[in-house]
Amino acid sequence: MNGGPSDAEVIARVLGGDTELFGILVDRYQDEFARYAKYMTGSEDDAADVIQDSLVRAYRSLRRCGDPESFKGWLFRIVSNQCKTHLARRRRRRLEPLADEAEEVPSSADPAADAEGADLRRKVHQALQELPTDQREALVLKYVEELSLPEMARLLSASVSALKMRLLRGRRELLAKLQGVLT
């Protein structure tokens, strides 16, 4: 964090009645977890909904944040949980996950390579969406968010050995789903 009041200072002020200061926490974290939410839910629109609900839930529960200095980790767990709730609701409604990932990467001077790359990205993205939620979460945190195993363990309140197992299973399932795609 660069300058400005700490999370704990902001939380103390918000709890003291300065509600508008909650906007500082919104500005600080809404994009921070957006990429994770996008890969968990499958689309930026769903990620926006999840982040919005998570931040409001965090505000409502702010008094219950045990350690304001660890607000970021606490908020991440709310976001993670909201992603899973969102996916569970979507499964109940039998809606397919969206896959809008492939079209967004900037183009290069080689349109053929771009098209091939976009196709692979779309297939990887789709295969990722088909994994069990906990495996997808582990792969996203490691390969997209580039977190270390101890960092993941802290965020997810899981043991390093359990996360290694999730990653191992996730890798195998993902590679199996992409068998026909990879040469």
């Binding site: 509600t19 508008e20 909650f22 906007g23 919104v26 500005d27 809404q30 994009d31 957006a34 990429r35 996008k38 890969y39 930026e44 990620a47 926006a48 982040i51 919005q52 609900d53 409001v56 839930r57 505000y59 409502r60 529960s61 219950r64 944040c65 045990g66 767990r77 709310i78 993670s80 949980n81 899973k84 709730t85 996916l87 569970a88 990932e101 967004e104 990467v105 790359g117 692979l120 990205r121 990887v124 993205h125 939620t133 906990d134 490691k142 390969y143 997209v144 580039e146 270390s148 195993l149 309140s157 290694k164 990653l167 191992l168 890798r171 195998r172 993902l174 590679l175 992409l178 990879l182």
Partner: protein, 188 residues
């Protein structure tokens, strides 16, 4: 990214190459997200004030009834006082908490946990266990006397209110939290 020993396997290296094709640019959410969050935060704040004002302004008791209620409150405080001394209950020896057994029937569930204000709404919650494999999940926890809001978490993701709870409150997201009243221990 930190490399672990298992990252060096051919399988892991292949996956590493594949995952590098994914877009890792930061995602910037539209400004409407911030606006919506702050609007809901302000609405929440406003509703708290409105409810408080309504409660204060509402005529509820006749002067006689108010006097009786005041006398009853004082008597109640005097009765409770020896049991709830000043200080932080969690720092005491444990006599200021009450064992509470929470039970949830979910035969199809793979896991059940409970979270609430007493668990800082930790989304992983406190796990319940099945004693007979009959779908009856339970846990005994120590709670301080007072009102507690909680929900059960089924299979790690689904938040469900307790069907056996005496009452429920809206959680502000179209779902409900269960309400538990933990009475104080009786003086022995």
């Amino acid at each position: 990214m930190t490399l672990e020993p298992e990252d060096l396997s051919p399988e892991a290296e292949q996956l590493e190459r594949i995952m590098k094709t994914l877009d890792r640019r930061p995602v910037h959410l539209p400004s409407r997200v911030r606006s919506a969050v702050m609007a809901r935060v302000r609405a929440q704040q406003a509703s708290v004030w409105v409810r408080s004002w309504d409660w204060l302004a509402a005529p509820r008791l006749s002067p006689l009834a108010a006097g009786v209620a005041l006398a009853a409150s004082i008597a109640l405080l005097l009765l409770i006082r020896p049991e709830v001394p000043t200080g932080t209950p969690t720092e005491a020896t444990g006599s200021l908490t009450v064992p509470v057994r929470l039970v949830f029937l979910a035969p199809q569930a793979r896991s059940v946990a409970v979270t609430g204000d007493f668990a800082s709404w930790d989304p992983t919650g406190i796990p319940l266990a099945q004693s007979q494999g009959d779908g009856m999940w339970s846990v005994e926890i120590e709670l301080p006397p007072g009102l507690h809001h909680y929900v059960f978490i089924v299979n790690g993701t689904e938040w469900r209110p307790d069907p056996n709870a005496a009452s429920r409150v809206d959680d502000g997201f179209g779902q409900q939290n269960s309400v538990l009243l933990v009475p104080g221990r009786r003086a022995s």
